[in-house]
Symmetry: C2
Subunit: 321 residues, 2 copies
Amino acid sequence: MAVYTHLGAEDLADLVAAYDVGELVSAKGIAEGVSNSNWLIETSCARFILTMYERRIDLADLPYFLGLLDHLSAGGCPVPCTIHDRDGAAFRMIDGKAVALIEFLPGVSVDRPTPAQAHSVGAVLARMHLAARDFPAQRANDLGPATSAEVLKGCGEQALGLIDPGLPQSLTMAREVAERWPADLPTSTIHSDLFPDNVLMLGDEVSGLIDFYFACTDMMAYDLAVTHAAWSFAKGGTHYHEQIGVALIAGYEAVRPLAEAERSALPLLAQGACLRFVSSRAQDWIETPADALVTRKDPMDFMRRLAFYREQGATVFAASR
Amino acid sequence: MAVYTHLGAEDLADLVAAYDVGELVSAKGIAEGVSNSNWLIETSCARFILTMYERRIDLADLPYFLGLLDHLSAGGCPVPCTIHDRDGAAFRMIDGKAVALIEFLPGVSVDRPTPAQAHSVGAVLARMHLAARDFPAQRANDLGPATSAEVLKGCGEQALGLIDPGLPQSLTMAREVAERWPADLPTSTIHSDLFPDNVLMLGDEVSGLIDFYFACTDMMAYDLAVTHAAWSFAKGGTHYHEQIGVALIAGYEAVRPLAEAERSALPLLAQGACLRFVSSRAQDWIETPADALVTRKDPMDFMRRLAFYREQGATVFAASR
């Protein structure tokens, strides 16, 4: 959540001149994004987000992510489009790093969503799934339950236990979920990381979905399960907000009703979603020194959500019919 | 250079509602300021910078800093004014921390100023000094050469020598400069930290002076010396850009000609300016672990500028007549 690279006014003005967007008027590095640096850029024409891809993102994937933004934006979804340079390129290189200029969208990210907001998020997620079905490019989800199991195994039972005595059991759970993971549910291009941070809202309406850098081809119901796990709990995963969960699924189904097989898979898909975050957070926890300035996210937050879905998933998702 | 506190959309909307500025439309944490958190806020009316004072700033000084912005802005200087809340207050408290809403100014900070830009900076600095002369509040400069000497003494000769063998001699130099420090030059309210970071430009013109949190009552010629030391050298202090230095002083004198006593004091004032940054950077260097994510600024950068002024200050400032 920082700007990792210094770009001076001269660098930025040179960059902006490569696009047909007017003259540079203002540029502020913004504290958004974990794996890249971002600037809010204003020109004499409009405002934009400039993203510099610092790490984690494979350059070969960039045309996929940026092309997806254009496809969804053209399909009427509230997604920022990519600005192409004067030669038509979706990204450029500065000092060996890729940068892209992206449409700026208004809106703010909520901390404590209301049911009306959750309904709007569900509906926009479904619209996105439908608009993405004819996106021609494919990208495998490399963060499924089998990967979660592998990552947790790599952490080691002892290291997991040092974080919390309840954490090592996640490995067995991940293996169980991976074995039972469905393979025949309808797919599309999914966001797969739609936390409140990645949704911009104006009042009760979604004004933007952002940060598509985990997007991939996978089951649409899995994306809904990720979003349910990300939105429907109090911080720390200690309390399930039933009204939020119900509104989210109702909003989704108002646009794209779930098939029976999708609905009955939701409890398992939600467990897989939790394990994806448990495993990546456990790995980050172990790899990040306790005194680092970066805030480590507690993997137990999603262990609590996982326990909830194991115990009450069947009831919860049946109730939201 | 980060956002130290999380403020969600709900907190921000509540805050914005305390001002007569319309509804919250967008909010981005920005990577600006070292001792406070900043957000670029957009409402249905206009854009603003929201600053949360995290540390280092004495709350008792806040009315001085915020009142100065209003005074200078009303006096026609390109300085953001403070937005007062519906009750007329210049700042509010959130969870025990003061926050202020400040006008947003366009412009970008340059890395490699041109002589035309330096001329504009000099002229605006002089305008600021003149506009601030009737600012009624006073604040002592607590970072003069006597403080530099104390800070360097506190670091200890051994610790200074571990940073660089050339650094311990700064202590003797600071004592010499403090002994010879003038007391009878004309004063005003000065910025005292006018690095390129703190100046916004549109083309060759200054569109904003920002970050007045070191402002104090002191000699105007000292502020010019600080600005000269901050602007006229290549990064690292290895090379003096004569054209920049000359243009800066010419720009200043186009608005406010220096008295003979001010001009002849400049070589010493510039040494004092360098020592102020050598001492604070040496202290930060010693107090910041080498592996911290925060970038430490090399105190030797300003030792090189100090050496330059000791050797060539008299010639340089005579030449810019």
